[in-house]
């Protein structure tokens, strides 16, 4: 069935985008990630302009992180205080990100910056995750006990001033790295059209030493806040959020996520991380190729002052 998208200004097949939302929702339910890093390039690949794609994926991430956040919140697996501080940084970061997005688009370098950020962040996180999970799988097979993380080991982050106590995380750290982390990932999120969970989770674990059981819930709640703000900012600053497209992606996504979550429970943690790492690296590789292969047309058109 054909549907005209009023902001993207083109007619698309509804089922293609429902299916796309469903497939990405399946993966995000399985791995516990937002899936923005898969959905944004997919949308751009199908002919939606990068501006509309990035802006419309944000409400989709809001929807998927809402249902997951509620589940974690019920089990008290969210550090509220840390979420609020991360979120405060995220507000500033998202706002700067949306304006950077607009500035880059007007000088014609948005696509390049999005592509380079994807390669840098997906490439490095994917590589680290793959190495770590393959090691864990190999250890599990050889029957050796996993090396547990040394708790109480302090890094440079713990020397910063303005310390405060996070009761649920059982931490006593400075608010400076927390706010800075929120701001940094918020900025990247609104420029790249991703929630940033795959950056936030390792940063919370390795940088702030947040216990693993509250990391995912806290990261999800943070994503919810920043992406909600980014949606409003994209709508006001760029007018590029297509509500019809968002509805298709959300509807497909919430259903797909349920099936994904069931499959995810049947797999072991290391297996899941290895699979996710492969997906992340595949996306990074695809983007990398698109930069180096000769483009279909070396010329492109943009309307001056146009929303798209």
């Amino acid at each position: 069935m054909q549907l005209y998208l009023p902001i993207a200004e083109l007619t698309v097949n509804m089922f293609l985008f429902l299916g796309m939302g469903g497939a990405v929702g399946f993966l995000s339910g399985m791995f516990g990630v937002g899936g923005g890093f898969l959905l944004t390039p997919l949308l751009i690949f199908t002919g939606i302009s990068p501006a509309v794609a990035v802006a419309t994926v944000t409400p989709q991430i809001v929807a998927s992180s809402t249902s997951a956040s509620i589940a974690y919140w019920r089990r008290r697996l969210i550090d509220e205080k840390m979420t609020l501080l991360l979120g405060a940084g995220g507000l500033v970061g998202s706002a700067l990100g949306v304006f950077a997005f607009r500035a880059l688009r007007s000088v014609g370098q948005l696509d390049l910056i999005i592509a380079l950020s994807y390669i840098a962040f997906l490439g490095s996180v994917g590589t680290i995750m793959l190495r770590e999970s393959v090691r864990a799988l190999w250890r599990a097979r050889s029957g050796r006990p996993a090396v547990t993380r040394r708790t109480g080991h302090h890094n440079w982050v713990h020397g910063l001033p303005l310390k405060t106590r996070f009761r649920r995380s059982k931490l006593y750290v400075s608010v400076v790295p927390v706010i800075a982390l929120g701001a940094g990932i918020g900025f990247l999120g609104s420029v790249m059209g991703i929630g940033g969970g795959f950056l936030m989770v390792p940063a919370l674990i390795y940088l702030l030493r947040v216990p693993t059981n509250v990391v995912i819930g806290t990261s999800l709640a943070y994503t919810l806040i920043t992406m909600a703000v980014a949606t409003v900012l994209h709508a006001t600053a760029n007018k590029s959020v297509d509500v019809m497209l968002a509805i298709l992606l959300i509807a497909g996504g919430v259903v797909g996520a349920q099936f994904g979550a069931q499959v995810g429970q049947a797999l072991r943690g290391e297996q899941l991380r290895a699979l996710l790492a492969i997906f992340v690296l595949a996306v990074a590789l695809r983007v990398l190729l698109s930069l180096f292969l000769p483009p279909e047309s070396i010329f492109s058109l943009a309307i001056v002052g146009g929303a798209i």
Binding site: G108, L112, V243, Q258, F299
Partner: protein, 252 residues
């Protein structure tokens, strides 16, 4: 719409034989306004025309019909290789470029006019000021040609020979296709009548293309109330996410 069209054709046909010394044109569009609604997949516009005048035994009438969309300022960017990466490097801005330009010519139009005459009557997208001005400089010309090629790829710039059919020596018809990604605004439909390289008559009608129904309401609210629009999007997303969680009782 169908009834109106038939009435228009009958009216044109009735007017046509009324001979006069100088040629004059009557034309009608199958639609004066196109509404882009949720199920819009493009639309066909039929242009009917009739010529009042004295038919010539030796020379046939030749017709050009041009549909031109609202003008816009466009930036054309060119990618170049930089350290192996394809990146936008140079760009050129063109002012007042037609967003849509489709010209249909009758079969016998060939050779009737040479390029210089085409530009006198501003026929064909290459006779547009933005292309003419670019012709002075090689790089600008290259970018203008790229613009035309990209527009043509999206079906927005088209020139077709033999697309105007004569139903009778003085009655003609042509059908335009408006693709689904068509820009909105006021369009001009111009009909030019020639015979033996001489311009006889011309007329211009307007065609308005706008978003309609639900699409229009969404586009308008996104434009007029961006803050509320954004908040509604968030509310919708949060509600759907919450609702899905309730129905499926999503496990961790």
């Amino acid at each position: 719409m169908k009834g109106g069209l038939v009435a228009a054709i009958v009216a044109i046909a009735a007017l046509a034989p009324a001979a006069a010394f100088a040629e004059s044109l009557v034309a009608a569009l199958s639609d004066e306004a196109v509404r882009i609604t949720s199920n819009f997949t493009g639309e066909q516009i039929v242009v009917f025309g009739a010529i009042r005048g004295t038919p010539d035994e030796d020379a046939e009438y030749e017709v050009a019909v041009v549909v031109e969309g609202p003008q816009e300022d466009v930036i054309v960017r060119r990618k170049e290789r930089l350290l192996g990466v394809w990146a936008n490097r140079t760009s050129r801005e063109f002012k007042e470029v037609p967003s849509y330009y489709v010209m249909h010519l009758s079969e016998n139009f060939s050779g009737a006019l040479d390029p210089s005459q085409l530009s006198v009557y501003r026929l064909g997208v290459r006779s547009h000021p933005f292309v003419q001005e670019a012709a002075a400089e090689a790089t600008a010309q290259l970018f203008a040609e790229a613009l035309i090629a990209l527009k043509a790829e999206h079906g927005l710039y088209v020139e077709r020979q033999g697309a105007v059919d004569f139903l009778a020596p003085n009655v003609f018809r042509t059908t335009f296709f408006l693709p689904s990604a068509i820009p909105t605004g006021e369009y001009r439909v111009s009909v030019y009548l020639f015979r033996s390289q001489t311009f006889l008559a011309g007329r211009t009608d307007t065609l308005s293309i706008a978003k309609g129904g639900f699409s229009e309401r969404i586009a308008r609210s996104a434009d007029d109330y961006p803050l509320y629009y954004g908040l509604v999007c968030v509310a919708l997303a949060v509600f759907t996410g919450w609702f899905a969680g309730v129905i499926f009782r999503r496990p961790l």
